[in-house]
């Protein structure tokens, strides 16, 4: 499954660690929420990067104490119809000010890239190669956005106000 990170297809630097697998002494690992919470102190004190795969039915508030030490949070879309992780992503970015990698996993398709970006994801485990290659095209399709999210894009309402002000300044 291709990984798109910050817009580029990259190889995954994280090893997905099964719950019963031995923790390697170095190298980036991605662990389940259960495993992470059971050993949160020691895992987040580790010298190499640690990320957590967070299920979509668990409050991200639980992660708050560890966020500044986590290298990645992977949120899950069991099917793309299940949109809970969209809210989790915004809460992580906008409420908890999480700055590490925020990865979308599961059924991740081209048609959601823009939404995912707007919600704060910057990393995507994409189901299909063709979709991964179409990332740039798909995410440049829209140039206007009606509603604010934490992505900082100017909304239509803000643009209109700005235009009005510059018009009245010029007249």
């Amino acid at each position: 499954m291709p990984l798109v990170n910050k817009g580029q297809i990259v190889s995954d630097g994280f090893v997905h660690l099964a719950d019963d697998a031995k923790l390697p002494s170095d190298g980036a690992v991605l662990v389940s929420a259960t495993r992470f919470l059971a050993n949160a102190e020691s895992l987040s004190a580790r010298n190499s990067p640690v990320g957590v795969i967070w299920p979509n039915n668990r409050s991200v508030d639980e992660l708050a104490p560890w966020l500044d030490r986590l290298a990645a949070v992977a949120l899950v879309f069991p099917t793309f119809r299940d949109g809970r992780a969209h809210s989790q992503a915004r809460l992580l970015r906008e409420r908890h000010h999480y700055r590490g990698e925020l990865r979308a996993t599961g059924q991740v398709l081209r048609d959601q890239f823009t939404f995912l970006l707007r919600n704060g994801f910057d990393s995507f485990e994409v189901k299909k190669d063709s979709d991964a290659h179409a990332f740039a095209e798909a995410t440049q399709r829209y140039t206007e956005f009606y509603q604010p999210t934490g992505d900082g894009r100017q909304t239509a309402l803000e643009r209109r106000l700005r235009q009005r002000h510059s018009e009245s300044a010029n007249s």
Partner: protein
């Protein structure tokens, strides 16, 4: 009318090009039908019994003549020459080809209409009182806020994959024509003690398998906070709404299971976090949207023009005028309802020729503006009273002047088994038969206000629960049978109808309705005691007796 600006136009065109690409990927097999399904549903495309059905949004029920002409064009060019207006201020085309859809959307985009989010588990078309902006006594034009909500909810990145569909309705009048109490969120614009305007917010109303009347979650939300409050509700719902069972996924079930107090607490906690975020609407932003709505330059007209006095001698004109013409907030003007319920017709259907003719008449008599109401009729919102006689003759010629608005033949019906793949039973033929039974206008008038609503299955697209008489088609041992309820209503006193007894077969539905109406005529206290009031006073029992005594 709201006029699209460059930003709106760009966005809609970007959506059309995205959809064109999605259709191309489906036709080439790159997208599976399952993957494509959610994509097409986000754009109002259903696979029905015979073909793809295409649903176009008419935001808050307002259309310009140019937009209506374009809908006629779509009906003619891509469909079979007609369209069906629905209970949610949408229009549906029943015979469209997948390969034609991108072109149809591009044509519609030219006049600023679209099919975004007319289906799928997202925020649907924002509906409003069809008399918004012209109804006497209205607090203010609710469409300003409906447009703000339309923009806010269009392609919302967080809320496009909710547990289930999500419907808003908004009104600013004391009399609710938008059925806000049977929507996921109902908004009533009103003025508080201090004279400030804001919203009473209702949540968790809805029909379908488990009907609920919406509950007030907050008495007063200032306009500034409308979007943040709505976002708080949607966020709570997106996280906690049930996804394990499609029949329990609507917000009404979450509200019911948590209880309104607990749900309100969750929303309040979330809201306090985002209330002062960029979602706060400052007055300039609202003003900007308001300035994009244009209003007619009304003339100073006499309240009772000579033309009207003269025409009063014609009983047919008078029958139409007393039935279909309503007061306007500006002296000398009127609101005219165009009945899409001709005797023997399919409720809400209009041909391309009718749509074109209505558009021309709107240019001539209604400042180029048309409204669409949830009762599946059209309206002209700004008609000079002196033009009423001429307008009436023109409307009559094209078959939209049946004087039956709000009467027993003004039936709401879903497409049912004639088109819909989910249907258990036919709805349209039942409606047609009923209109024939009550075709005599004097009889219908004598009966008075009476809303009959028909759905072809439990999904309740025909709003049967809130019909004064509700008819629900179900399937029993391979046969179409119908459950009949009475006492439902969708206005500010919204109530769910009560079952009168065992379901009856297709062939008997019209007889049963006649029996109910006869019982009412015999039982009413005075000629002006409405059917709905008589049922309230008497309960179901006398009607049940009458209907089942001989069955």
């Amino acid at each position: 009318m709201y006029a699209y600006d460059e930003i709106d136009r760009t966005l809609i065109n970007e959506r059309v090009s995205e959809f064109r690409d999605q259709v191309k990927r489906r036709l080439s097999g790159e997208l599976s039908e399952d993957e494509f399904k959610m994509i097409r549903l986000m754009n109002g495309v259903y696979l029905q019994l015979h073909a793809y059905m295409f649903r176009v949004a008419i935001p808050y029920g307002t259309l310009s003549s140019a937009q209506l002409r374009k809908l006629a064009h779509v009906a003619r060019k891509y469909d079979r020459g007609y369209g069906h207006f629905t209970t949610r201020q949408n229009i549906q085309f029943n015979w469209i080809k997948l390969a034609d859809l991108p072109d149809a959307l591009a044509d519609l985009a030219e006049v600023g209409i679209h099919a975004m989010q007319t289906s799928g588990n997202c925020t649907r078309n924002i509906t409003a009182d069809q008399w918004a902006g012209v109804a006497p006594g209205e607090v203010e034009d609710p469409r300003i806020w409906a447009e703000l909500l339309r923009q806010y909810s269009t392609l919302h990145p967080e809320f496009s994959f909710l547990p289930r569909k999500f419907k808003f309705a908004i009104t600013a009048s004391a009399h609710d024509r938008a059925a806000i109490k049977v929507h996921d969120i109902g908004l009533r614009l009103h003025r508080n003690d201090k004279g400030e305007t804001g919203f009473e917010v209702l949540v968790g109303g809805g029909l379908g398998r488990t009907p609920f009347i919406g509950k007030t979650i907050r008495e007063f939300v200032p306009g500034r906070d409308l979007l943040s409050y709505v976002e708080a509700i949607l966020r709570v719902y997106n996280q906690y709404g049930r996804r394990d069972n499609i029949y329990k996924a609507r917000i009404k079930i979450l509200v019911h299971e948590l209880g309104i107090e607990k749900f309100a607490e969750e929303v309040e906690t979330e809201w306090l976090q985002i209330r002062d975020s960029t979602l706060a609407l400052d007055a300039a932003v609202v003003e900007d949207i308001r300035s994009r709505f244009s209003y007619p330059a009304y003339e100073k007209l006499a309240p009772m023009p000579d033309e009207l006095k003269q025409a009063a001698a014609d009983p047919q004109f008078e029958a139409w005028r007393t039935n279909s013409v309503a007061p306007h907030k500006v002296q000398g003007y009127a609101i005219v309802t165009l009945s899409l319920k001709p005797i023997g017709g399919a409720p809400g259907d209009a041909t391309a020729a009718q749509m074109d003719a209505v558009a021309d008449l709107a240019d001539k008599y209604s400042f180029g503006e048309i409204r669409v109401g949830h009762e599946q009729n059209l309206a002209f919102p700004h008609v000079a009273k002196r033009d009423l006689p001429a307008l009436w003759r023109a409307l009559d010629k094209i078959g939209v002047a049946t004087p039956n608005v709000n009467l027993v033949t003004d039936i709401i019906a879903c497409p049912g088994l004639d088109y819909c793949s989910l249907a258990n039973a036919r709805s349209i033929p039942i409606a047609q038969e009923l209109t024939r039974r009550f075709a005599n206008h004097d009889t219908a008038n004598l009966i008075g206000r009476l809303h009959v609503n028909i759905s072809g299955c439990i999904n309740a697209c025909g709003h049967h629960h809130v019909g004064n008489i509700g008819i629900l088609g179900v399937e029993k041992n391979g046969e179409e049978v119908y459950q009949i309820t009475i006492g439902g209503r969708a206005d500010e006193n919204a109530e769910l109808g009560k079952l009168i007894g065992p379901a009856v077969p297709y062939a008997e539905v019209a007889d049963v309705v006649e029996d109910i109406v006869e019982a009412y005529l015999a039982l009413r206290e005075r000629p002006d005691e409405l059917f709905i009031d008589a049922v309230k006073r008497l309960g179901v029992e006398p009607f049940r007796e009458r209907v089942y005594a001989t069955r």
